[in-house]
């Protein structure tokens, strides 16, 4: 952990990326916006590009914006602080994105969680089953904004 921290030129990264990526700076961490079909290529690039090697996926989640879903990936390097946030918009009715469980294995569980909570289909996921919800839950996605819990003790 004592090695010097090197800054990453994200403009150059975006220029070198194999797929079209939109860079947004000004946020606490740089953000990359990518089309869902291009995500696996970008993921592979971020993981393997020598100047990046983002091997640590520390957060994977989804946000329901009522009109669409946004997948959010927080990536980092295991020794250097090189956090980058990758976002990808998904169609709310047919959310589909490629799984990255083959690149970062932590994604396997996180994607299963997002699958049941938001209904996102992860293509190529090794084992896309319900993880937290009980069997036979299919169809209702608790963390979507339109989900109402039928059992709610406290109405605020």
């Amino acid at each position: 952990m004592n090695e010097p921290q090197t800054a990453v030129d994200w403009e150059a990264v975006v220029a070198h990326a194999p797929v079209p990526v939109q860079l947004i700076s000004g946020t606490p961490w740089p953000e990359l916006h990518v089309e869902a079909p291009n995500w696996p290529d970008l993921a592979q690039f971020l993981r393997t590009a020598p100047e990046l090697q983002l091997d640590y996926l520390f957060c994977l989640t989804c946000v329901d914006w009522k009109t669409h879903l946004t997948m959010v990936y927080h990536l980092n390097h295991s020794r250097q602080e090189r956090v980058v946030v990758v976002k990808s918009q998904l169609d709310r009715d047919q959310p589909q994105i490629a799984s990255v469980a083959g690149i970062w294995r932590t994604a396997e569980f996180h994607e299963r969680e997002v699958f049941e909570m938001f209904g996102v289909q992860f293509l190529g996921h090794p084992d896309l089953r319900l993880l937290i919800l009980p069997e036979g839950w299919e169809g209702r996605n608790p963390l979507r904004k339109d989900y109402e819990d039928p059992v709610n003790m406290i109405r605020l």
Partner: protein, 371 residues
């Protein structure tokens, strides 16, 4: 009539470990496939105490949602609250007074010790030694009493508020902590006598559940579990928050990656936490314990992420704000969830007894996994 005990053509035996099982420390349900005693596959089924805290937080204000996070990793509830408070402060750019920072760090480290002490007892119980469990509770009780005196509660303290802490330290706090430090040091040596050097314990944990550095990173395993695999991932060192950058402490890192290495890392961390408390206890600055904040907090539109190091690993709070008084979406990156995901990888090819030792060494807290 005797029914045939379920077996498939492969001669494998499928067993439910949990949801009620002595060594899952809660309601974790593992479906394990065995060949004889050897584990072929571990399939966790979660959600037995899923309360959807993330959804609940969407209807709670920025002052209110902090208390809920105590119910996630209840053993390091204080640090969870800390992470949430940090995230709100980062969004509102609140400057936390130095006294509050020191109080927070002190409480964090006491919490970490209390958590690790309980883990030590539970780990011993998992490998079959029952006496250490009671000895561990003796020390934990002292920490809890210190907490209770200042925070008013023993487990779910809710002591952090955005901008500082809820009350000032209790007048007895310094004295009690100072009494505790030498006592705990002597007890740590007793822990070594009871378990660390014990030949049976070593046999049970060495070379068991080995997790390589690459796998640890790939699985997103953090905390003592990852540090035992040689990955220096301590958030307190990587991106120091509060006053950690001004404190001297070692990041305990082991290379072996087995259960015994994880054990040693946690034992080392208890000593490090103790030294942190020792450094701070006489240097608590005077001043406010809370920054002046508005009664109703409104976060600006945007996304905020804060990271803290809990007793189990990296805890992340991701707030998506629409500019209102409640978060639009909140995501807690809990360390236990990622740590659990590596369990299958670690346990394959080992025996049932090893599975228990591995689970013990991962220090799983089920509400933290389920949220």
């Amino acid at each position: 009539m005797l029914q045939e005990i379920t077996s498939t053509d492969t001669g494998c035996l499928t067993i439910n470990v949990g949801p009620q099982h002595p060594s899952t420390h809660g309601v974790l349900h593992l479906v394990i496939t065995l060949s004889g005693e050897t584990i072929l596959r571990v399939d966790p089924h979660l959600g037995y105490i899923h309360r959807s805290i993330e959804k609940m937080c969407e209807s709670l204000s920025y002052r209110q949602f902090i208390y809920v996070t105590s119910r996630m990793d209840y053993l390091s509830s204080h640090i969870n609250n800390h992470g949430c408070a940090l995230c709100v402060e980062q969004a509102l750019q609140i400057e936390v007074p130095p006294r509050a920072q020191v109080i927070r760090v002190l409480m964090d480290e006491l919490t970490r010790m209390a958590s690790h002490v309980l883990w030590w007892g539970a780990m011993a119980m998992d490998v079959g030694a029952i006496t250490p469990f009671f000895h561990a509770f003796r020390e934990r009780e002292l920490i809890n009493e210190i907490m209770e005196e200042t925070c008013g509660a023993r487990l779910t303290m809710n002591y952090m508020v955005p901008g500082g802490v809820m009350f000032d330290l209790h007048p007895n706090f310094q004295k009690r902590v100072k009494d505790f430090i030498p006592f705990f040091k002597s007890k740590l040596d007793e822990y070594d006598e009871l378990l660390t050097h014990n030949i049976i314990f070593k046999q049970r944990t060495q070379h068991i559940g080995v997790l390589s550095r690459e796998d640890a990173i790939s699985y997103g395993v953090t905390g003592p579990t990852a540090r035992a695999s040689g990955w220096a991932c301590d958030v307190r060192k990587r991106v120091p928050y509060e006053c950690y950058d001004r404190l001297r402490f070692e990041e305990v890192v082991e290379q072996a990656g087995d259960c015994y290495a994880r054990y040693l890392v946690r034992m080392g961390e208890m000593r490090q936490s103790l030294s942190l408390v020792e450094q701070l206890i006489d240097n608590i600055p005077q001043g406010d314990f809370q920054a002046k904040t508005k009664a109703v907090l409104k976060l600006p539109k945007g996304e905020f992420y804060s990271r803290v190091e809990t007793a189990r690993g990296e805890f992340g709070v991701y707030i998506v704000s629409e500019g209102g008084t409640t978060p639009y979406r909140i995501k807690f990156r809990s360390p236990g969830f990622s740590n659990l995901s590596a369990l299958d990888h670690m346990a394959r090819g080992h025996k049932i007894g090893d599975l228990v030792a591995i689970m013990g060494s991962l220090d799983l807290v089920i509400p933290d996994i389920d949220r």
